[in-house]
């Protein structure tokens, strides 16, 4: 087998050195009745060529060559071949968590840069070395708010990504944490009148997403004021991190839970991505996840180490701030490289292109009879449209044109049937936006 570097005679030599006759002797501690004596029922072995053929066959069963208008937490943005080439360097790809700092300065330096970039983007003072993704980062941010306030109730906007809310519900259930949902208004923003009735002073946090699941920006300064006046925190989640190229950072929020997939990480059918928690310096000891810090060696040379580990499970066990151990370091590195490449001007330009293309797409689609915008709030690169018939039916017809259409909202919001979420990023050519508009118009002109 090509991955195994031993010849039969070397195996024999090693057994001889150990003083056993056969490899079988090394497994004697396993009771015979539990020994598997038949070969495992697995496909393979496959050669490298056959493995590639298997996966190419699977790729051809997917949406290769389709144009997609899906966003909803996972975005298609430009990716440079440079970032992908660099993260495949064995020194990054095949290294472990940098506990042995002297031979992990590459990873530690990159984490320190990642933490810095995340602070610059979010307007926060500290950011960690990564969380699993946006959904689990949000959950951890809420648990952090619970620890910081000692209150066990949170108010979560219904306009937060439905799957993020589901993950929060799973974790909250057994921790005595009550999650109450706050609705949205015609603008698509959190309903502040409902908030006023929700006993804010008994809440650990208000939890919002901005841009929210409908693509709409929330009024964060006002929400922060309301939260702080009642002794609660504002937790803000950002699923579309590319928005930070042009949208004012949520510096008034107390904890940010962000999904960094937009920074050069492929959709890859759901992961791996990279979550981030960023917060105020004074809250750092309640933060989950790894942190890299700057220090010096005996000769005064700058170096980096994992630090404040007394928050973490390998030191604190059941008293840790989280059970997280493995994180998403390689994709934090990918995001770091991507952001260095695109840089200060490029990120702004990219965000502006998203704004322009989304506005263009919305105006093209709104021209179709029976199609209208649902929410009046300001948007970045996603918006909700109402259609005169089921979005699923429209999408089925669009698939025949090799177009993946708007995300039907009815599944998660029963009151929003016939509404679909459209996402348009910088990678979408004008011609494809126009093709979508033409296709939807034609579909709607065809009688059911």
């Amino acid at each position: 087998m090509r991955y195994l570097p031993k010849s039969p005679s070397e195996r024999e030599e090693m057994l001889e050195s150990i003083g056993t006759a056969s490899v079988e002797d090394l497994f004697q501690s396993i009771p015979e009745k539990f020994r598997l004596r038949a070969p495992l029922d697995l496909p393979g072995p496959l050669s490298e060529m056959e493995i590639i053929q298997y996966f190419q066959a699977r790729a051809s069963e997917n949406a290769r060559g389709y144009t997609s208008f899906l966003g909803a937490g996972v975005y298609q943005h430009v990716r440079s071949v440079v970032a992908d080439a660099l993260i495949q360097r064995g020194e990054f790809l095949t290294s472990y968590t940098p506990y042995q700092a002297e031979i992990s300065q590459g990873t530690l330096t990159a984490i320190f840069e990642f933490q810095t970039l995340m602070c610059q983007l979010t307007g926060q003072e500290v950011a960690n070395a990564s969380m699993y993704d946006g959904s689990t980062a949000l959950t951890e941010a809420v648990l952090m708010a619970e620890r910081l306030t000692g209150k066990h109730r949170v108010l979560v906007a219904r306009s937060v990504h439905p799957e993020y809310r589901q993950v929060l519900a799973t974790y909250a259930k057994n921790l005595g944490l009550t999650v109450e949902e706050i609705g949205y208004t015609k603008s698509g923003q959190l309903d502040t009148s409902a908030l006023a009735k929700a006993k804010l002073d008994e809440a650990a946090a208000i939890v919002v997403q901005s841009p929210n699941f409908f693509g709409v920006l929330e009024e964060l300064p006002a929400l922060a004021d309301a939260a702080h006046a009642a002794g609660a925190l504002l937790v803000t989640t950002i699923a579309e991190a590319a928005s930070l190229g042009i949208v004012r950072p949520p510096s008034e929020a107390d904890i940010i839970a962000m999904e960094g997939q937009s920074f050069g990480i492929p959709p890859s059918y759901g992961g791996p991505y990279v979550g981030v928690i960023a917060t105020r310096e004074k809250f750092v000891r309640q933060m989950p996840g790894r942190l890299a810090g700057q220090t010096t060696d005996g000769e005064g040379r700058r170096g980096f180490v994992l630090t404040l580990a007394t928050r973490e499970q390998h030191i604190r066990r059941e008293k840790a701030t989280s059970n997280i151990c493995t994180n998403e370091a390689l994709y934090a590195l990918a995001a770091t490289i991507h952001l260095c490449l695109i840089g200060k001007e490029g990120l702004r330009e990219l965000a502006l292109q998203n704004l322009a293309k989304a506005r263009f797409a919305a105006s093209e689609l709104e021209k179709i009879p029976g199609v209208k915008r649902v929410f009046s709030g300001r948007v970045f690169n996603e918006f909700v449209l109402e259609f005169p018939r089921s979005v699923k039916l429209i999408n089925a017809a669009l698939l025949r044109e090799k177009i993946i259409g708007p995300l039907p909202l009815g599944l998660h919001y029963p009151e929003l049937t016939k509404r679909g979420l459209v996402c348009v990023t910088e990678i979408m050519p004008r011609a494809e936006i126009e093709r979508l508009a033409v296709a939807i118009k034609k579909i709607l002109e065809t009688p059911l």
């Binding site: 490298e48 493995i51 059918y269």
Partner: protein
Amino acid sequence: MSSKLTEPEVVAAIRKAGRQVNQNEGLIFEKSAPGKRGMELPPLDVPSVDPAEVLGPGNSRDSIEGFPEVSEIEVIRHFTRISTWNYAIDLGMYPLGSCTMKYNPRVNEHVARLDGLASEHPAQPADVSQGCLRILYDLQKCLLAITGMDAVTLQPVAGAQGELTGLLMIRAYLESQGNARKKVLIPDSAHGTNPASVVIAGYEVQNIKSNTRGQIDTDHLREFATEDVAALMVTNPSTIGVFEERIAEISAILHEKGALLYMDGANMNALAGVTRPGDFGVDVMHLNLHKTFSTPHGGGGPGAGPVVAKKILEPFLPVPVVVQKNGRYAFDHNRPKSVGRVRAYCGNFGVLLRALAYTLAYGPGILQATEDAVLNANYIRKNLEDSFDLPYNLPSMHEVVFSDARQKKHGVNTMDIAKRLIDYGFHPYTTAFPLIVPGAMMIEPTESESKEECDLFIDAMRSIALEAETNPELVKTAPHSTRVGRLDEVGAARKPILRWKP
């Protein structure tokens, strides 16, 4: 080898590594200058907009303070230079016990990047996702075959999240029986994630002591296994690399009291093809695909922590579950007894895909990988037994745990030896874990090491043992060959500097 080494001999003893110049490099922010960039976009092909007008007053930002402005070549050089400061599996043996640092096949990286796989959106319709769904389904079948279990979820994205998921399933099952119970038992040899996960699942941790052989004390277990206990979390082989010989009895003790047996699958690399947890009484376990199934650690992640379970726990799997009907694959969301979702979408698909590529490469031949991993650990054990103290003398499986007891007499501890290994061209073994071994030196070579690499490691360890006697200062002040010496961790924690500032 002589019993006393002189300095030139010490250098001569380092056979695996030599010296090479590597580049100095600052932080990327320190290279930044206005007007440089490393990526360009195609020109905008729709009318441009005014951000203040589109986003509304006060909603847009001008520029990002301190954000880098660098060219493509500078980015390439920066990250290439700092990469050379890392050790990696691609450079040599990485004997971290409990971490299973095995070769990460390159074909896995290739297939994960294929157009039609990397490009796919998790919310796209099932009709145009059949390839992705089949990959998930095929991996599920492989993991069930290897573990001998009945049901599986691929959603958890790390071992710790797998633990939590398994515990939530246990809780939901017990609740359905009328009583969720209060405690989860954890041996003192367990990974730190175990107790941390127990707390998030809403249980109390009850630690139980290992016996003098480093195994679970079944008498002790009987005493603690009350009607209040939901489960025992056992790592098998244990963190001292030894198979729990009385695993069936342990399972029976729990089942008698209506409790379940959770297995931490971190050490599954010792078992694949040899024995199946489903056959020896385990009810639910997680697998670390970034350990046993070769997906790269990437400097700390990503991972994947699928959970496999017995039939009784199937109704409680997280939603959605991948199902197949008449050759068509789909996500089943309609599972009323589910514990819910533990992560958005279907987990770390890109990691799951790599694990399937690994499994397909071996097929049933995965047994040979297991055998080689155990052979390597025992070979290293045998050849280091004369130099280091072996606190538990039971048969080793995929890893061996020594202690620094002998070297301590000369003032040299496990961390010193670990740091000295760096000078010899190796990544250190795991230090100070498991907690039941004071001064632990936990060595897991994996099957990826040749006899030659094992021999180099053995020579290095013997040589260091000798140095500990003859020149302890040399070991205590190691490493001597790295860009930076031992770093001031206390200072880093006392006055944390967690970001660059101009």
